[in-house]
């Protein structure tokens, strides 16, 4: 990607839907939109790190929304990102019991309202718990499942990155790791309920 390259909203959405050029597009989103979002968060009581964390979660939410075909393009990408980020931060403030800041943020989000915006909030909490579940798995299960289900690598390709003797060992290990993860979810019924609600709403 050229440092001065410019993407239209349509190009951004199209690029995030497929893997080619994904890194360049996410980097472009960071270059274009992160400073404004981080500034909004710091203006509303957050630290620089809070702002950067919120923006990372915002970008992840946006990509997932696009990949599910739920980004309708009624608002610009910038507006969409800003609204998600503000709502994530508002929810974080709620958790931190700082209602004064919350009201201020709420006032500034009136320019654009998405009827589904509350979904991002409940989804975010569910996803945070998802990540904690994965962390509980530890290495190498975490890596094996990511290589297969996120990187979409074949068993042969995975073998190059793992300390196992052959593809069958990797296959067995992957199977056991998935079972282990499902066991963790079963031990956390609260997450199950949130997931079921989310599945029904999406």
């Amino acid at each position: 990607m050229n440092a001065e390259a410019h993407y239209t909203d349509e190009e951004l959405v199209a690029g995030l839907s497929e893997n080619g050029g994904f890194n360049d597009i996410v980097l472009y989103i960071y270059k274009q939109f992160s400073s404004a979002v981080v500034a909004t968060i710091t203006y509303n009581g957050g630290s620089q790190e809070d702002g950067e964390d919120v923006f990372q979660e915002t970008v992840v939410s946006f990509i997932e929304t696009v990949r599910r075909g739920k980004f309708r393009g009624e608002a610009s990408v910038k507006t969409f990102l800003t609204v998600i980020a503000r709502n994530i931060w508002m929810n974080e403030l709620r958790k931190r019991q700082r209602s004064g800041y919350r009201e201020k943020v709420y006032e500034s989000t009136r320019d654009y309202r998405d009827p589904d915006i509350s979904n991002y909030i409940s989804e975010r909490e569910t996803k945070q718990e998802f990540r904690r579940m994965l962390e509980k798995l530890g290495e190498p299960c975490n890596k094996i499942l990511l290589l297969f289900y996120y990187e979409n690598l074949s068993m042969k390709e995975m073998l190059d990155q793992l300390p196992y003797e052959n593809e069958q060992v990797v296959r067995n290990k992957k199977y056991k790791c998935l079972q282990q993860l499902i066991g963790i979810f079963k031990d956390n019924p609260g997450i199950s309920e949130k997931f079921i609600k989310k599945s029904k709403s999406s």
Binding site: L27, K31, F55, R131, L134, N142, L146, Y149, Y150, S192
Partner: protein
């Protein structure tokens, strides 16, 4: 649920079943509560994995962005640079159309050629080592790249030197994107802790990893930064690369 049925469900998820098996599994999911619930559990788990993968992926790009910002901060302290850069761009353009030698240079300059010209394996100097060298170091010294990278992966905690060596081992294994993440981690850690340990090495080899993956817009600013720092460990090596070549790389990216 029995192991056999669970294997059928995961086989269905992974697209490994024959049409008849697939149809039978789909029917069970529709009609059998136990199958339906387990299928739901599997889908939820895979969604969690994909989300976690995406979160980590965006996190790695966030670190790259942070590293680029640090480069920009250095650049902004030398305002004359942008004028010089523009002049060089013009020079690159003139060279491009001037004659066959320039045309040849233009044709021959690409990320791979610059990578081949600049890259040299990192050798672990004795001053960096310790009496009880770690397994990672030992594997690295022996040129056992896979073992070095795996040892760091198993280690599970951050350490600047070993993170860098694991990244170098991945460079040798041609796992450039994983290597870039390691170098970015070194730079991010140094920045957070106001440290310079392995900073120069990480910057240079991060640029190399970007060249290897054709990410010119990330590689060239780093190379220019290294070239501009007279006390950078890799300044002399990068100085062998002409600014015209770097500009040709950028020009071709447009």
């Amino acid at each position: 649920m029995s192991q056999i049925n669970f294997k059928l469900l995961t086989g269905h998820l992974d697209g490994e079943l024959q049409p008849a098996e697939r149809e039978a599994v789909e029917r069970q999911i529709r009609e059998n509560d136990e199958w339906n619930e387990e299928w739901s559990n599997i889908q939820r788990s895979v969604e969690a994995i994909r989300h976690s993968g995406l979160y980590g992926h965006v996190g790695a790009i966030r670190k790259q962005y942070d590293a680029l910002q640090a480069v920009d901060n250095v650049a902004s302290r030398t305002p004359v640079r942008s004028i010089v850069r523009n002049l060089y761009r013009i020079a690159a353009f003139v060279l491009l159309i001037a004659g066959s030698a320039s045309v040849y240079q233009y044709m021959a300059t690409n990320p791979a050629s610059i990578y081949n010209q600049q890259y040299a394996a990192y050798s672990l100097g004795s001053n960096r080592g310790s009496a009880d060298a770690s397994a990672i170091e030992e594997a690295y010294r022996n040129g056992d790249w896979k073992k070095a990278a795996e040892a760091y992966g198993r280690w599970g905690k951050y350490d600047t030197k070993h993170c860098f060596l694991a990244g170098m081992a991945q460079m040798e294994l041609k796992q450039y994107k994983d290597a870039a993440i390691k170098f970015t981690q070194v730079l991010a850690y140094n920045r957070e802790h106001s440290d310079n340990y392995f900073r120069d090495e990480a910057e240079f080899y991060l640029a190399m990893s970007y060249l290897a993956t054709g990410e010119v817009s990330l590689a060239v600013p780093l190379l220019k930064k290294i070239r501009a720092e007279s006390n950078h460990l890799f300044q002399q090596r990068v100085a062998r690369l002409s600014v015209v070549e770097m500009n040709i790389l950028e020009f071709k990216e447009r």
